[in-house]
């Protein structure tokens, strides 16, 4: 079978020496480059397709262009909910979970707009509806063991995928706000982990998973809940 593949980590490809490879300088997770840029994506695709016309191999070709820069200098991502951390109107202590639920609700109009605009959502792998997602994750943070929402999914994986659904919900929502379609992944990641209650909740959930006797859940807490770079930065 003739194959041609994108190379993301050039030293790996140099060792493996597949028949046809196109190295691209884009970050991991973006083999075709930037989102919503069909002209650029087509250039990458064409460069890859061209490799099928090479007379012999293995060949490893470098794509010549960097991903176009996002205009993030002018962007300020705003978080809709202020977490007082002390007291609400009734004088009761505001909890992370209460603030998180308010935040999720406040993000909803932007999420709905994103779905309407893009005619798609990447939320859904956990099988938990958005209305129940926050409740499910908060129960897990409290150390409860809710039932897995899907018969074909263990609770450990359901927690992992619920966390991914939550991240997707926030990113889809925030990038629907004015001027934020093209925000860089770095900007979005910093916003999610540093400024949202959702990020704070997942950092808590990571701790709960790490303390679990369940091996899979433990592994998910250690490696697959929070990016290593974020966990290291936050000392988690």
């Amino acid at each position: 079978m003739p194959t041609a593949g994108i190379s993301l980590i050039r030293p790996h490809t140099e060792v493996i020496q597949p028949p046809r490879a196109l190295w691209v300088p884009f970050e991991l997770g973006r083999p075709l480059g930037p989102p919503n840029n069909p002209v650029f994506q087509k250039r990458v695709l064409m460069a890859l397709l061209k490799l099928f016309e090479a007379p012999s191999g293995p060949i490893l070709v470098d794509f010549p262009d960097e991903e176009p820069e996002s205009s993030e200098e002018s962007m300020v991502l705003s978080c809709p909910v202020i977490y007082a951390g002390d007291a609400d109107e009734a004088g009761a202590a505001d909890t992370l979970e209460a603030a998180f639920h308010r935040e999720m609700t406040a993000m909803r109009p932007w999420y709905d707009m994103a779905v309407a605009e893009r005619k798609r959502t990447t939320v859904g792998i956990s099988g938990i509806g958005i209305e129940d997602l926050g409740v499910f994750l908060c129960a897990c943070v409290q150390g409860k063991e809710p039932e897995s929402p899907r018969k074909d999914l263990s609770l450990a994986y359901a927690i992992k995928f619920a966390a991914e659904d939550l991240k997707a919900y926030y990113i889809e929502a925030i990038t629907a706000q004015p001027g934020q379609q093209g925000a860089s992944s770095r900007k979005l990641q910093d916003w999610f982990w540093d400024e949202t209650r959702a990020g704070e909740l997942l950092l808590e959930l990571k701790k709960v998973c790490e303390a679990s006797p369940d091996k899979t859940l433990n592994m998910i807490g250690l490696h697959f809940m929070v990016p290593h770079s974020v966990a290291a930065r936050k000392g988690k």
């Binding site: 041609a4 991991l28 989102p35 397709l49 005619k119 994986y157 992992k160 992944s185």
Partner: protein, 153 residues
């Protein structure tokens, strides 16, 4: 990716992956590009919204993505937090360029788009267990594919 753009820890981790090398380098040619039938293979753990998510079960290696799929049909069940998902969350073509491929077929750049595409959930190469790849190669042949494009994350 540019390794110089990531932290020292991440660079070390990425370069520590053991990559397989091969004694032989098979080369298969084919017809001109405008006669080729093209399929997408991705290792991003994409699957249909109603498919079973990957859970690292032995023997559960890939999912089939119909060529008629639309962007809202796919979700991702990859485990890693080590790659960007915000691009895919805004545009599936960042990982699974089916729209671009359909355009290339409509413009006559390629012959046609395959009826089926395939998604793996592997984080690392598994040269000691090539059966799932051989199985998919046989399925691609049945689909008359003669150009398989590989998209990792």
């Amino acid at each position: 990716m540019r390794l110089e753009n990531v932290s020292e820890a991440e660079r070390k981790m990425l370069l520590s992956f053991k990559c397989p090398s091969f004694a032989t380098h098979p080369w298969v040619s084919g017809p001109p590009l405008n006669k080729r039938r093209v399929a997408i293979i991705t290792t991003s753990g994409l699957l249909g919204r109603h498919d079973r998510p990957f859970q690292n079960d032995p023997g559960d290696n890939y999912r089939v993505i119909p060529g008629s799929s639309q962007a809202n049909d796919l979700v991702m069940s990859h485990m890693s937090t080590g790659f960007d998902r915000t691009g895919f969350q805004r545009d599936w073509n960042v990982i699974f360029p089916l729209d671009r491929l359909r355009e290339a077929a409509a413009e006559g750049i390629i012959g046609s788009v395959a009826d089926f595409h395939y998604s793996y959930n592997t984080i690392r190469a598994q040269p000691d267990a090539p059966e799932p790849m051989r199985e998919v190669a046989a399925l691609l042949k049945k689909d008359r594919v003669d150009a398989a494009m590989l998209f990792p994350v």
